[in-house]
Amino acid sequence: MTEKKNKMTLVVLSGDMDKVMAAYIMASGAAAAGMEVIMFFTFWGLKAIQRDGVLTGKGLFGRMLGVMNRGGLSAIGPSRLNMGGMGRWMFKLMMKMHGVTPLNELREACIALGVKLITCDMSMTVMEIDCEDLIPETEEPVGVAVMLEHANESSIQYFI
């Protein structure tokens, strides 16, 4: 059996604003407490590390997906009550009113604290998302075995 390290592995499948926010809060908090942190982004979660304003996709379906599900932290909406973007606008405004740190600053804090951002190769292929579509801090895409190796030696694993 692999010995558990002071390490956390997060699998981020969701691209919803609220869930992505929870993921970045946990990652920055753990890294602040000295833990090694791995974030594995897959499927909709890729939207949380996609550069703002980039349209992804090569073929017809891939481009449709890129247009209908825009990525980047400013484009993603909450999992409930988004109502065509109104919810996103309202949540952002409420977060600002209460002084909650915005998503991009949370992600910057994660990067500054050494959180590793890795991605799922297969879902990038299926969704026609290239490495160039993602923020430059993202590492090379990997498969499930690499994610499981990280999870196996982590004392905390979460699926979001």
Binding site: S28, G29, A32, A33, G34, V100, T101, A109, A112, L113
Partner: protein, 78 residues
């Protein structure tokens, strides 16, 4: 080694997770044995700063509520 904090931080208005994130970044700027002091307005720091210290291995020297703010002093242990 002195009891005077090497760094003095203002976390007023910051909410979770920023107090611990900024504290973790600040503690790297001081030497082992030195102190950092901070002031915050988020009541969550009363539970979060000690929890952060237990996980990270640093020491909370003091943590108290004064009027509407929370003041704490942390020592870098490693």
């Amino acid at each position: 080694m002195s009891d005077t904090p090497k760094l003095s931080l203002d976390f007023k208005g910051l909410l979770c997770p920023m107090p611990v994130v900024k504290l973790a970044q600040a503690i790297k700027q001081i030497q082992v044995g030195e102190l950092v002091e901070a002031i915050a307005t988020d009541p969550g720091v009363m539970a979060d700063i000690p929890a952060w210290a237990r996980t990270s291995g640093h020491e909370v020297v003091s943590l108290e509520k004064q009027d509407k703010v929370f003041k704490f002093v942390v020592k870098r242990v490693k």
